[in-house]
């Protein structure tokens, strides 16, 4: 087992399992056990909200894996997230059955509305969860594989790659807006009723989805940790810093990048699939270029190349967004814009790097550096 020993330190495992247990057990318990209205009770609306943040965290994690460790800044990661979400949304649409407005057993409402006669072939199989789950992984994965193969093979790097990924999500955004694509056009997929026969609006189902999100995030974190701690992880960091040199040393740079890019897309797809049942809708706006760029700022704020930072950044910024768009809607874009500038100019290592940066400053101010064993002042 290469790297298994360095996956997490014993202290790291303790933190990981403790925090995970607190999230998996504590939140549902606080929601379910105390009587409604008591000060201890976690309100019902907070559970899917937390679940949503965790999905964003998984998405940020997937971007950090490629940006922080391989230097691939994808500005189209929202596309993989949305594709996973659409696959899940299609399954949920099929679960509605005859309970739609038109009570059509064969077709979803929007197809009846558009006068479609038969279910398009790409909707076949989505009645079964197993198939949908496979598609959640396969569709983003294959797209990333094909796209990455083309891009990395011809050595499209840096800003060029960022722009091309942006074009990818823009193209999908335009395409999914079309009604004749068969994905509900502008309105997307919504009005879901239940998942595996459980009512989506019941608080128990919401707790279940929340727990699934925590588990997915935990497993995703471990998977990323495993990759970056392995020999491949070291190769990735090397090619991030000097791609040509790694290539000349005889490593297959393209394959390493392709692998990690595909894994990242799959993680993003899973995040999207968990996101959709908790927010209850998926529409083309998830493909918008602005959404995808925002993911990058979650990662940057938390701290690139740390994995943990991506999670912290995603949760913190989305919490701030929920709060600010509610109380000061005008200010949100100013804050977000300022964050972009500030984090790139002043805190390139993000929240997790701030302590190190401060220590570095202090070290520079006071010549006898009191921290042994740390890389303090340069």
């Amino acid at each position: 087992m290469p790297g298994a020993s360095s996956l997490l330190t014993p202290r790291g495992w303790a933190w990981f399992l403790g925090l995970g247990a607190a999230l998996v057990i504590g939140v549902p318990l606080l929601n379910a056990l105390p009587p409604a209205g008591s000060a201890l009770q976690l309100p019902d609306y907070l559970v899917p909200l937390l679940g949503k943040y965790l999905c964003y965290a998984l998405l940020a994690l997937s971007l950090d894996l490629i940006w922080g460790y391989a230097g691939i800044l994808s500005l189209g990661h929202g596309a993989f997230f949305a594709l996973g979400g659409y696959a899940m949304g299609m399954y949920l649409m099929r679960q509605i059955g005859t309970r739609g407005v038109y009570a059509n057993a064969e077709l979803p409402d929007f197809m009846v509305f558009l006068n479609w006669k038969a279910l398009p072939w790409y909707w076949w199989g989505f009645d079964h969860f197993a198939f949908a789950a496979l598609m959640v992984v396969l569709v983003p994965g294959v797209l990333a594989l094909v796209f990455g193969w083309f891009a990395f093979r011809s050595r499209v790097t840096g800003v060029y790659l960022s722009i091309i990924t942006q074009a990818l999500t823009y193209a999908l955004w335009l395409a999914f807006f079309r009604n004749d694509m068969g994905f509900g056009g502008n309105n997307g997929l919504t009005d879901f009723k239940d998942i595996f026969g459980f009512d989506l609006h019941a608080s128990s189902t919401r707790r279940g989805l929340y727990v699934a999100s925590v588990l997915a995030l935990g497993l995703g974190y471990l998977a990323c940790r495993f990759i970056v701690a392995s020999k491949l992880g070291r190769l990735l960091r090397a090619l991030r810093d000097a791609e040509s040199r790694v290539r000349f040393l005889g490593y297959s740079v393209d394959h390493a990048k392709l692998f990690v890019f595909t894994v990242s897309a799959v993680l993003a797809g899973i995040a999207g699939a968990l996101y959709v049942p908790q927010v209850g809708i998926i529409n083309p706006s998830e493909f918008s270029t602005a959404n995808s760029i925002e993911i990058a700022i979650w990662v940057a704020v938390g701290g690139r190349g740390t994995l943990l930072g991506a999670i912290i950044g995603a949760v913190a910024i989305n919490f701030a967004k929920s709060w600010l768009t509610g109380s000061l809607p005008e200010a949100w874009l100013f804050v977000l814009g300022a964050l972009f500038v500030l984090v790139t100019l002043a805190f390139p290592k993000g929240i997790l790097g701030v302590t190190g940066q401060l220590r570095g400053l202090r070290g520079r101010g006071a010549p006898p550096a009191p921290v042994p064993g740390e890389e303090g002042a340069p």
């Binding site: 940006w67 800044l73 500005l75 796209f147 083309f150 891009a151 093979r153 011809s154 050595r155 499209v156 840096g158 800003v159 060029y160 960022s162 722009i163 091309i164 942006q166 074009a167 990818l168 823009y170 193209a171 335009l174 395409a175 807006f177 079309r178 270029t289 602005a290 760029i293 990058a296 700022i297 940057a300 005008e330 874009l333 100013f334 977000l336 814009g337 300022a338 964050l339 972009f340 500038v341 984090v343 790139t344 100019l345 390139p348």
Partner: protein, 535 residues
């Protein structure tokens, strides 16, 4: 089809000499007849009389404003309270009032409306103003008269204006294709074959599909059809080409600043779209200032003033951006992208807070409104032509700047090799700031152009930003020629694909094509060669 039957019926029932003898007033009263056949007859007769006064009568009949009195006279009536005011239908002199139950409305059905249209057409052919006569000729071409165009013949003989004469001749030929001797019809087909009016195509198609057609005539019609269609296709292609060039010129204006800054500094300015937006808002502000403080006859000049104002304003913002943020991020292009994206969010929200989220209205000056209509219904709007010219003027000025000035020399040097330029004593930091200002200023001028063809809103920049990136990626950086080729080919390909695949799908196809194109040439169409290419 129905018109043919109708006219044949009328011709059988009524001898023209009878109609000519009848007095107009008498005929108008016949409009009050009970059955529709009689009414249609009356309308036909009125049309044949060629009296200009009849136009108003027929229009009121069409609008359902004619009524029959108890003594079988037809009057024009307007409801007023519970009774009607009546007028003479011919000259509009008031006749007094009538109770509502004393009048019967002259009912109109679709067959009668057809007859009214035909009669109105032949009436306006002679009597109307130039514009009316032209549109009557076009109407006659659309619905060729079955009688061989006797009215048109008369009108053509009386007509002096060459444009109207040509239109009459065409309509006459269209009418003669369907009737008359074989020789006459063949001659008419030959005349129609010279035309490039889309209407002629439908006239010919209609004739060809008619039953029991003479084979020689059919061959002639087929030949004429293919000639007309070939010409129409050519015109259609010219229109598409123009639309493509117009879109390309807009893309070029939007992208060229981006290409320069990318070429010189190796960074992508995500706030470039907002520079365009600021330029458009500068135009709006200049327009409002002209409206508020200058005499109204000067308003047409606002656009000329807006160009330098927009250039200077956005260039100042660009230089501030470069000095304040970007220069701290050199060597980190990805971070620069994110930081400039943040700036773009702030600028959008700032403009939204100041001007509001709604679209602002920027009027075209009078010298930019309207357009030129060519044969075949192709229209070239004047604002797009002006933008096309403006775009090339900007491109020319930029080429001069790059080739003939010291700043241009320095910019080219830094593009090719930054370290060597610095070693040769070029102040690269100053070049960077000026380049960024120049790129932003050109974006501002693009905003002036865009304000003339679209809405001015805080999101204006976002619409064009991905497209401009595509132009830069496609054309390659650091070369005006590449940007020109990239913008024009993207514009034209987009417009060529639109009718085939639809606007949205066409764009998706273009995007996918570019992503694939990058495989072949990862640095664009006109990539810099040699050491400069390896960054």
């Amino acid at each position: 089809m129905f018109r043919c039957v109708l006219s044949a019926l009328v011709a059988l029932l009524l001898l023209p000499s009878l109609a000519a003898a009848a007095d107009l007033k008498q005929l108008v009263d016949q409009l009050g007849a009970d059955d529709f056949a009689a009414k249609i007859q009356a309308v036909q007769d009125i049309g044949a009389l060629g009296d200009g006064r009849a136009v108003a009568v027929l229009r009121s009949l069409n609008d359902g404003a004619l009524y029959v009195t108890a003594d079988h006279r037809v009057v024009l009536a307007q409801p007023e309270g519970d009774h009607f005011k009546t007028f003479d239908p011919l000259d509009g002199t008031p006749l007094g009032e009538a109770a509502a139950d004393a009048l019967d409305k002259v009912l109109v059905n679709n067959r009668l409306r057809g007859a009214i249209d035909a009669a109105l057409g032949s009436l306006t052919l002679v009597g109307g103003r130039l514009q009316d006569r032209l549109s009557a000729a076009q109407e006659a071409l659309k619905h060729p008269a079955a009688d061989g165009g006797a009215a048109l013949e008369k009108a053509l003989a009386a007509e002096k204006d060459p444009q109207v004469r040509a239109a009459f001749a065409l309509a006459l030929a269209a009418a003669r294709v369907g009737s008359g001797s074989r020789e006459q019809r063949l001659a008419a087909v030959a005349e129609l074959a010279q035309s490039s009016d889309p209407q002629v195509r439908s006239v010919l198609t209609q004739q060809r599909d008619a039953a029991d057609l003479d084979p020689e005539l059919r061959r002639a019609i087929d030949a004429a059809l293919s000639a007309v269609e070939g010409r129409l296709k050519l015109i259609g292609f010219a229109v598409t080409l123009f639309e493509g060039l117009s879109l390309g010129s807009i893309l070029l204006l939007a992208a060229i600043g981006l290409a320069i800054t990318f070429g010189v500094m190796g960074i992508i300015n995500m706030a470039h779209g907002e520079m365009i937006m600021l330029g458009a808002y500068s135009t709006f502000v200049v327009q409002q200032l002209f409206r508020a403080f200058l005499p109204p006859q000067w308003i047409d000049g606002y656009l000329l003033a807006a160009v330098p104002v927009a250039f200077l304003a956005t260039a100042a913002v660009g230089i501030a951006l470069e000095r304040g943020i970007i220069r701290f991020l050199y060597g980190r292009p990805l971070e620069t992208m994110l930081a400039t994206w943040g700036v773009s969010l702030v600028l959008q929200q700032l403009v939204r807070s100041i001007f509001g989220a709604t679209n602002q209205e920027v009027a075209n000056p009078s010298w930019m409104t309207g357009g030129f209509t060519l044969i075949g219904g192709a229209t070239f709007t004047r604002n797009r032509i002006v933008i096309l010219i403006f775009c090339f003027a900007v491109l020319g000025a930029l080429a001069l700047l790059l080739r003939r000035t010291t700043l241009g020399l320095h910019m080219r040097a830094v593009t090719q090799n930054r370290d060597m330029s610095a070693a040769m004593g070029i102040a690269t930091a100053r070049v960077d700031a000026l380049t960024f200002g120049l790129g932003s200023g050109i974006a501002g001028m693009a905003g002036v152009a865009l304000s003339q063809i679209g809405n001015v809103s805080p999101n204006l920049g976002q619409i064009y930003i991905v497209d401009s990136f595509m132009v830069v990626v496609f054309g390659g950086v650091g070369s005006l020629l590449g940007t020109l080729a990239g913008a024009m080919s993207l514009g034209i390909v987009n417009k060529l694909l639109e009718p085939v695949a639809g606007a949205v799908l066409g764009k998706v196809v273009v995007l996918v094509a570019i992503i694939l194109f990058i495989q072949k040439r990862p640095r664009g169409l006109f990539a810099l060669k040699g050491r400069a290419a390896e960054s």
